[in-house]
Symmetry: C2
Subunit: 347 residues, 2 copies
């Protein structure tokens, strides 16, 4: 079968690889219906972090085979795979933080049994801990739902995590830093949690328009200190109740913290780039909380899936380019140059 590999910076290739097989009795094999490229895939693509081998960690598909110990997933099921592997049984999974699963792992890396887990951008994937990792879509779906379901594997759940981590509730004012797919899904999340006003920080007209479609009420184009001042000016001069930080740079964190009112909270989901540091002074003096991290999207599927199935939320709108798997290299290039918000790949 064919799958996407990264060989180094700016070197993405779709190549022949061995078909996956069941390696343990808790595995499943899934035929990928749709996969996509993540903003975090761009770090190794840009050479900022090292990456080699199978890549991709967001996919939906149909189960082809399951091991003898798999009870909740059966051949023929349409499933959503989160961007990580988890058992949904350990104490961290039960606490709602399956990204800290004690038996879990990451696509493209060695799993706890010592086997290499496949990447998601391929024709088929061996799924470890299938009963925990996979979420079965409980009814037959229309093809048009595929992009929306695919966002539950990462960006919609991650945007939701930003809003939950920031403590967004009814009536809150919210500012979103980051107009990528996660930030845009953060707008959906803030809206469905009852935010009264949602400010998107963006300079890109197409992304501004999508943000408004998702529920943003205001756009701020300024950045840095000017962006902070513009947001504060919208809210009594003190800032928004909640901020969603969906970039991961130190600059975006400073901006999100500065745009939040005393006693407010920042939800962090942008993967921290180069392990930035936060100065305690500006947090402490204004009682601004920071909370978030690697989003436990598997824990959120039960809450979000019904709204995707009935069309109440349409997060798949973040895909503005669809390509065949063979053109994965172009998918990366389009996202890297910000020609596309997010690219869907069809094996």
């Amino acid at each position: 079968m064919r799958a996407t590999l990264i060989h180094g910076a700016h070197d993405i290739r779709v190549e022949e690889v061995p078909d996956p097989v069941l390696l343990t009795d808790t595995d499943a094999v899934v035929r990928v219906v749709a996969a996509c490229v993540c903003g975090s895939d761009l770090w190794p693509y840009r050479g900022v972090t090292h990456g080699s081998g199978r890549i991709g960690h967001e996919f939906v598909g149909v189960v082809e085979e399951v091991g003898a110990g798999v009870a909740k997933v059966a051949p023929g099921d349409f499933v959503i795979a989160p961007f990580y592997i988890c058992d949904m049984e350990c104490v961290n999974c039960r606490n709602g933080f399956s990204t800290s699963c004690l038996r879990g792992g990451w696509w493209g890396e060695e799993d706890r049994d010592g086997h290499l887990a496949d990447g998601g951008q391929g024709e088929r994937v061996r799924v470890p801990l299938a009963d925990g990792t996979l979420c079965v879509v409980p009814r037959a779906i229309d093809e048009s739902l595929v992009p929306h379901l695919l966002t539950l594997s990462d960006v919609m759940g991650t945007g939701h995590h930003a809003a939950v981590s920031a403590g967004v509730g009814p009536g809150d004012t919210v500012v979103v830093a980051g107009d990528g797919a996660v930030g845009l899904c953060g707008v959906i999340a803030a809206s469905r949690l009852g935010a009264s006003r949602i400010v998107m920080m963006s300079r890109n007209p197409a992304r501004q328009e999508l943000a408004r479609e998702f529920g943003a009420t205001d756009i701020v184009e300024e950045r840095g200190d000017e962006g902070v001042a513009a947001v504060r000016a919208l809210f009594d001069g003190i800032g928004a109740d909640r901020a969603l930080e969906c970039v991961g740079s130190a600059e975006a964190m400073r901006q999100a913290i500065g745009a939040t009112r005393p006693g407010g909270q920042v939800g962090l989901v942008g993967v921290p780039h180069l392990n930035p540091e936060i100065k305690m002074g500006p947090l402490f003096g204004r009682n601004v909380g920071v909370r978030g991290g690697v989003a436990p999207v598997r824990n959120y599927v039960d809450e979000l899936l019904p709204e995707v199935l009935d069309g109440r939320i349409r997060p798949g709108r973040v895909f503005d380019l669809e390509l065949p798997l063979a053109e994965a290299a172009e998918a990366y290039a389009a996202m890297d140059s910000r020609r596309a918000i997010k690219v869907l790949l069809r094996p």
Copy 2:
């Protein structure tokens, strides 16, 4: 009248100063019944930060005079003064964060009207924004309640803020870093909020004993990485649900963050010493939130005062030394050398 002044590192003197008078119609003059020395007073005492002039920011007393614009406070009232000045009317005060009051200020510093605010360690204090700043104790009190009421001006409210900021709720497991007065009050706070287990990190037998009296269920004597490992070992190997950081050093923050389970939260109230930085990686990877800051104790008095008045909580037990005001220098020396947890001063 006499008041305490700091002239430099290790140079505390009680001197004659002018009697306070009403300078604006929102002022009151309070005769101090009891004051105390704060852990944060030790920073200028040790020369770590610069300090000169009137010092002290925790006191209770009896109102002697009020300005024409003061409506909620009257001569003869027994009042609690928080460690800062606030109007309780601005948007930040109404949001519950009166330490960010738009018109507020700090004892010993210039207020918004350009007048120097008195320090609290003296015989009398001019209180700006008296209607907001002062909390009237609604009934006649017994002398034995004075130490307990005095803690509402800072340490009990600050310990409560640590627990609230950490999100402590019924059934939670909690670890407290810092066995000073604030950390000990944090134990009281966590207990009254329903924590199921409370671990105090302390090597001092007297403080361990007081922590147990306040509700601590476990003591951990190890520090640093060994302390983190000891706390994690108590809770499924993953850490406590909540941590209260009541020291303010980078080391204590790392310890508190490390001792918190994935998805847990750290309440920060230790005044950050030298504006330390927090690495984002360890927070993000484990979804540990940090929240807290300068405690809005004025906002908490309504909730805590009834429990002090009826003896349900006895935070004044943190005072293990009482001295006349004239011996303020000895009060500082005793706290600096950790001979005393907290010293009460009687003018």
